[in-house]
């Protein structure tokens, strides 16, 4: 075989190294520019898939303090509380004076060493300002709402399959507001078809120098961060079956910049503002303690409380671990709300509780029987490749026809209602004819809604029909899981939380979800590990997998022996009412049934205890101010009888804006054995993941926990932190003036930027008072220090979170038997 190859001489090669592109606009360059600029905003999902994520993720490449300066600059946002608030916290004792003083000393020392933090400010400002910028933003707000809505309007924007930019170009051409402007029209007509070329052209027309372009695009995106971050999310979910039309930031920017041109011409108010402010320095007033020192003092105060609790348990820990065998093992989501219910259950029954990521290791999407699309039920960090479909349980097959009938009647009513309401000729008579019904519904929802609401209630018949998870790969479910995959995922799940021996008779995977009424933000109260879905379905699925004898055999081969007597069950914890539903339809053995019924009654008592404990948060400000070594007694706080019906009713009340507190107040992530925190009342403020350092010889389980759950807790913490510090810029503001747009988001009032982040009511007790003072998360890991360090060395992205002070780390080293503070 002979190979002919034309060799280049060296001279020719050198020449080639200098690439030259011949087309005037290099599309790749524009794309890269936009991709870089996009890091200024994080993604924001549609409300139905609400996931708490740090809105300032793009700034994590900086040290926290420097990042806050940049954030303040770009978004005109607040990253800390006001000095007066902090001073009040010191006076109240919520910030420890000693800790504060030592931090002040440290700060003054550092100040001498490092003169000033220098931060490059945006070197350029937007061309439009004042009224012009208002016009640009107003148009953007209204146009984005129109383009992105695919469900609310009956007559949507035309030709959206041709792209955001195309539609804009054509709509503005016919906009009556610009009809007189022939110059504008001819100019619009001359715009290039490709958004890349158009964006590049716009930058040139606006006179943005090559070096400033990135910055200019960043500023353009930060002007309306809500739309930008939602579009960024949509861009990452191209061709998602929930949406018909795709959209991306490049086209968004092209439109935005052209709008600036349009309105600048119109108002002739183009005054280049003073540019190049150059370097800003974080100068604190002489003699004043900067707020970030207070913030750190607050965080360290709480860390000390938690450390003290763990230390006392560490000291008291004896080797007589062999407690009598527990009635059941219940695995809860690591969500902070599990802390309370776990504490309550342990206080009334002999149940061992564990914590794990609430998707229980199944990277799947789940298709409910009566829903159009499958929803991802795993953390956003994972792209699920498998799908679980719901099927009717054979035992309830007989009730299925009833269910279908009531569903079809319900569908018919809905359809008739819709067709009458939304047609020109019929909406008038419909409103009139149905008025009395609406009056009745309003009265019943307002005054009698503790009784079941009259209409739209096929829930009962649905309860009778039980839907089971179909996990297996089959012809009808080509995205199901193979046996090997089932073994792999379920085994990993058990190993991660260290549940590899001493199985109880019942092992119950308990997912969680909330029940609320008339609440666009319902998904924000659901399971974050399940991407804003309820966790019960995954629990059901993983239990089913582990009950399969074939799988148990395979797992036993790998060293995990599950006794034959052990039954796995799925369950769901309703975080609004604290009721726990166990999916126990398959239990037939009368002995087992007796014991499971006993467990259920215990859980009922635990629910009562936890409701009381949670309600204390609302009625006593004192209880929120620290972590408690023991369960808080409501009598001692002088709290009277707690009305349980009232709490449960919150899940049904259409006027309730604070049905529960979600993950508000999260301050720490604990990875380790339950014993170290048992008995103490942490006020639902700590994420807890079970981990058995002795059973994890190679550290792979810890590595996974740190790479995934820990990253997730940091995202959640970032969301709560920034939404609390500045609810206008990083939150959604007050619910009372919310206006749902499309089926994906919320606006404030008539028209605004898309509201992203948590609502005022989900973190504030009232307009002025935060329920908890936001804090950065502290991670506690119970493992040998060397193991933790080794993992951090391997993953620079994790290490950076600590070295850049976005997270705190404390290692509970069992070898040295003490707690080591890393930062």
């Amino acid at each position: 075989m002979e190979i002919t190859l034309e060799r280049l001489d060296t001279a020719k090669r050198k020449e080639r190294k200098k690439f030259k592109s011949n087309s005037s606009v290099n599309k790749s360059v524009v794309k890269a520019l936009v991709a870089n600029a996009a890091s200024i905003v994080n993604t924001a999902p549609p409300l139905k898939n609400f996931i708490a994520d740090n809105p300032t993720k793009g700034f994590e490449e900086h040290d926290f303090l420097k990042a806050t300066k940049l954030i303040e600059r770009y978004f005109k946002a607040k990253c800390f509380q006001g000095r007066e608030q902090y001073e009040k916290l010191v006076a109240d004792g919520e910030i420890d004076r000693e800790i504060l003083n030592s931090l002040i000393k440290q700060y003054e020392k550092d100040k001498l060493d490092m003169p000033e933090v220098q931060i490059l400010a945006p070197a350029i400002s937007l061309r439009s300002a004042g009224d012009t910028l208002d016009q640009v933003n107003n148009y953007t707000n209204q146009f984005c709402a129109g383009f992105l809505d695919e469900t609310e309007s009956i007559w949507g924007m035309p030709q959206r399959d041709k792209g955001f930019y195309y539609v804009w170009k054509n709509l503005i051409l016919h906009d009556p507001k610009f009809s007189g402007d022939s110059k504008l029209k001819s100019w619009l007509g001359s715009l290039p078809e490709s958004p890349e070329e158009s964006l590049s052209l716009a930058l040139t027309v606006l006179g943005i120098e090559e070096d400033d372009r990135l910055e200019y695009l960043r500023l353009s995106l930060s002007s309306l961060p809500g739309w930008a971050s939602y579009i960024k999310w949509r861009e990452g979910h191209e061709h998602w079956d929930h949406f018909k039309y795709d959209v991306n930031l490049l086209e968004y920017l092209a439109v935005r910049l052209h709008l600036e041109i349009v309105f600048l011409k119109m108002f002739k108010s183009y005054v280049p503002k003073e540019e190049f402010t150059g370097i800003i320095t974080s100068k604190e007033k002489e003699g004043e303690i900067p707020v970030h020192v207070y913030q750190e003092a607050l965080e360290r105060t709480y860390q000390k409380q938690l450390t003290d609790i763990i230390e006392s348990n560490l000291a008291g820990q004896t080797n007589n671990q062999a407690v009598d065998k527990s009635l059941a093992q219940m695995i809860f989501c690591m969500d902070v709300r599990s802390e309370g219910i776990r504490r309550s259950i342990e206080s009334v029954s002999n149940v061992e509780t564990l914590g794990a990521a609430g998707f229980f290791g199944l990277p799947v999407s789940y298709k409910k029987y009566d829903e159009e699309f499958a929803e991802d039920t795993c953390p956003v960090l994972i792209k699920p490749v498998h799908k679980i479909e719901e099927m009717v349980h054979p035992k309830t097959l007989d009730k299925f026809s009833d269910f279908q009938f009531s569903k079809s009647v319900n569908d018919l009513l809905t359809k008739t209602y819709k067709s009458l309401k939304s047609n020109v000729g019929t909406s008038f008579i419909f409103a009139e004819a149905a008025g009395v019904l609406y009056m009745a519904m309003m009265l019943s929802k307002t005054f009698f809604s503790k009784m079941k609401v009259l209409f739209k209630d096929n829930k009962d018949s649905k309860d009778k029909v039980y839907f089971d998870a179909n996990v297996d790969l089959s012809a009808s479910n080509p995205s199901g899981l193979t046996l090997q995959e089932q073994v792999y995922f379920s085994e990993t799940a058990l190993k991660l939380m260290g549940l590899t021996k001493n199985f109880s008779e019942f092992v119950i995977f308990t997912g969680h979800g909330s029940t609320t009424e008339n609440n666009p933000y319902a998904a924000a109260l659901d399971c974050g590990a399940c991407a804003g879905q309820h966790g019960g379905d995954n629990a059901k699925a993983v239990a089913k997998i582990l009950n399969n004898p074939e799988i148990r055999k395979e797992i036993a081969n790998n060293g995990i022996h599950i006794p034959e007597n052990t039954v796995f069950l799925g369950a769901e914890h309703d975080t609004t009412t604290d009721e726990i539903e166990i999916y126990d339809i398959d239990i037939v053995d009368p002995e087992k049934r007796k014991r499971i019924d006993m467990l259920k009654s215990k859980l009922g008592i635990a629910a009562t205890i936890n409701r009381e404990s949670r309600e204390l948060t609302n009625v006593s400000a004192k209880v929120n101010k620290k972590l408690h070594t023991e369960s808080v007694n409501s009598r001692e706080l002088g709290v009277d009888e707690i009305d349980h019906d009232k709490i449960i009713f919150k899940s049904q009340d259409w006027s309730e804006t604070r049905p529960e507190w979600g993950l508000t107040g999260n301050i720490a992530f604990f990875i380790g054995a339950r014993d170290l925190l048992k008995g103490s009342d942490l006020r639902n403020r700590v994420f807890m993941h079970s981990y058995d350092w002795e059973g994890d010889n190679d550290g792979s389980a810890l590595e996974t926990i740190m790479c995934a759950p820990m990253v997730v807790t940091q995202c959640i913490n970032g969301q709560y932190y920034f939404s609390s510090m500045d609810n206008v810029n990083f939150g959604s503001g007050s619910k009372i003036t919310h206006n749902v747009v499309g089926d994906f988001g919320v606006l404030q009032g008539n028209s605004s930027d898309l509201q992203t982040g948590l609502t005022l009511q989900s973190i504030f007790k009232d307009d002025e008072t935060l329920l908890y003072n936001p804090q950065r998360l502290c991670v506690y890991i119970q493992a040998p220090l060397a193991r933790v360090e080794e993992i951090l060395e391997k993953h620079s992205n994790l290490k950076n979170l600590f070295t850049r002070n976005w997270l705190y780390l404390k290692v509970i080293c069992p070898i040295e038997n003490k707690i080591i503070t890393i930062n």
Binding site: L133, N138, T151, N170, L173, N423, T426, Y438, T737, D766
Partner: protein
């Protein structure tokens, strides 16, 4: 002057007072939790109390100057409730804009009162109502125009619609109360002074067209809206248009019935405006055009018989070129729609029986309700059915046309050439948008916290 001449307790006033009372009770209870923790919850209840008291006093007062005073006061407090928090610039602007339109209405009413006094020498409403028919022509035209302007501004009818399109910065309970309450004021005005309108068929026709134009255009607006509340707002403008058109047809009791029932309908939808994300998924059943046409024809026949039931229950005469026939045509479309939707959805053999039954049932219930209102208002408000011209029928063409077309093709617009699509959408949608000053343009322009 005795109390009897100061207050007027007739069935019209009492009916509308009752509507306001029912919605008020619900809103008061709703806001207890909904506004919990809000800085302005206390102020909200105070303003709400003032608004309600003045509304009731307005409805019951028998002196036109007192009436206008309370009319303005209740509107003033409504605009204050709309603002809720002054720190939010957009809300403040929107409240100011509403107050502007309300003031225009009040001024028009003052002019109306002046003309009445000039001609009839009384401020007492009962006496004005009696004397309106005897006013000289030129004065009655002036009086009519000022009354109409006041009514249209209050009902947010084109061209006085901007304030309602900008009203979504209000807290949800305020919107609920507004759409079930003061927005109806225009209907009340027209019905209260109906002898003036019925003194001339020209007036009647004007009122009819003023209403039906808003009814149609706002319907189109509502199609292009992408937010829940904007859709409800456009729907209110359109429903109020229909109510005013009913007045223009001389069907005063039907108009009052519409006003009350729509109030409940709209208040409910506002209070439940957070529920839209929990839509249920309904599988679509594809059908061939042929079978659609067949079912549609069947529905028309069904609706014809159902209409007979409606006529027999409601006592509204079915007669061509009588003004009531317009209302009956709308009823006919709705009855046909019920039958059509049912026949499309059901797959089993008793489709047609079900369709027939539901259409008849609706006709029966609705007919009785209309009749009930007529009986209720009989002693104070008499309908005035008159002969209409063919032009009024022409006004219905767009409704009938779009109604039929929508039942056959979901995406009607997509059949048009692209350029026309853009043009039509742009024209309709951009005229329904709230102006920049009442919008929250920058993220940080929104504010919920008032400095102490």
């Amino acid at each position: 002057m005795n109390l009897g001449s100061l207050f007027l307790f007739d069935t019209l006033a009492i009916t509308i007072s009752a509507l306001v009372a029912i919605v008020a009770v619900i809103v008061v209870q709703y806001a207890k939790n909904y506004l919990h923790g809000d800085q302005k919850q206390g102020a909200f209840y105070i303003k709400l109390g003032a608004l309600l008291s003045f509304t009731w006093l307005m409805l019951l007062s028998n002196n036109i100057l007192v009436f206008i005073g309370f009319f303005f006061l209740s509107n003033y407090f409504l605009s204050q409730l709309m603002v809720h928090k002054k720190v939010w610039g957009a809300a403040k602007e929107a409240g100011g804009m509403a107050l502007g339109y309300f003031s225009l209405g009040a001024v028009a009413l003052l002019a109306f009162a002046g003309i009445c006094y000039y001609s009839l020498e009384t401020f007492t409403i009962t006496e004005i109502v009696q004397g309106l028919g005897t006013m000289p022509k030129n004065l009655s035209i002036l009086a009519f125009v000022s009354l109409l302007i006041a009514a249209l501004a209050q009902c947010s009818q084109i061209p006085f619609h901007k304030w309602l399109l900008s009203s979504m910065n209000s807290p949800t309970p305020v919107s609920a109360l507004m759409h079930a309450g003061l927005v109806n004021g225009g209907g009340f005005l027209l019905v209260r002074f109906n002898p003036l309108i019925s003194s001339d068929t020209g007036f009647m026709t004007t009122v009819f067209f003023a209403g039906i134009i808003s009814a149609f255009i706002a319907s189109l607006w509502s199609f292009t809206q992408n937010t829940v509340k904007a859709k409800l707002v456009c729907s209110t403008i359109s429903q109020m248009g229909f109510m005013i058109a009913q007045v223009g047809l001389g069907l005063f009791s039907a108009a009052i019935s519409h006003l009350c029932m729509h109030g409940f309908f709209k208040a409910f939808h506002f209070l439940a405006a957070g529920s839209t994300l929990t839509k249920e998924y309904i599988k679509k059943v594809p059908l061939s055009l042929k079978s659609k046409i067949f079912r549609f024809a069947f529905s028309l026949v069904t609706a014809y018989f159902a209409l007979q039931i409606f006529v027999s229950q409601s006592h509204i005469a079915l007669e061509w070129f009588s003004s009531s026939s317009i209302l009956l045509l709308f009823v006919f479309m709705s009855l046909a729609q019920v039958a059509y939707t049912v026949s499309l959805h059901l797959r089993s053999s008793f489709v047609f029986a079900m369709a027939l039954f539901s259409s008849f049932a609706v006709a029966f219930l609705y007919g009785n309700m209309i009749h009930l209102f007529e009986l209720l208002l009989k002693q104070d408000v008499q309908d005035y059915v008159y002969q209409i011209t063919v032009w009024q029928y022409f006004a219905l063409l767009p409704f009938v046309g779009i109604w039929t077309a929508m039942n056959f093709k979901q995406n009607l617009i997509e059949a048009l050439p692209e350029k026309l699509q853009f043009k039509a959408y742009s024209m309709i949608h951009s005229s329904s948008l709230s102006p920049v000053e009442v919008n929250t343009v920058n993220r940080f322009d929104y504010n919920y916290k008032e400095a102490k």
